[in-house]
Symmetry: C2
Subunit: 87 residues, 2 copies
């Protein structure tokens, strides 16, 4: 793995894991009123389209990192819908 | 531009613009307590590293889309710090 690949992996890892603190915060507080459902919906759709792009280009790093992102952001969207209803 | 490039552009555009509704929501409500500063800090750092990756690979679409993302997410981080202090 060369330097550029390591940089790409670092970038992808940061962006992928970044949603985790927000998921944990919502999970603890159960509060979602200030968080934009639209933001996380558009983001989740965009990540899904990245996976399609990865499949078309047969680019496995894109498929794998975005699949993890999709999974995490689907949890986030589910929480937003679930706790919005609860309040 | 072929089909795959259009898909990539669609994905990049969705992910880039997704933060805008959250920025507008914070701007209107001035409330940021439920939003994770850690999430947006890690995301902003990750986007910056994507730009470095784009520069190393001389990949202009990566540089351009991530530069717009970086700009938008820096606004978001600024809002989180600013309104956190205000409350």
């Amino acid at each position: 793995m060369d330097f550029t690949e390591i940089i790409g992996l670092l970038a992808g890892t940061c962006v992928t894991i970044s949603v985790i603190p927000q998921i944990l915060k919502v999970w603890k507080t159960k509060k979602v009123r200030e968080i934009s459902l639209r933001t996380f919906s558009i983001l989740t759709f965009g990540i899904f389209v990245w996976i399609v792009y990865g499949v078309l280009k047969k680019d496995f790093p894109i498929i794998i990192t975005n699949s993890i992102s999709l999974f995490l952001n689907l949890i986030m969207v589910y929480f937003l819908l679930y706790y919005e209803k609860e309040k």
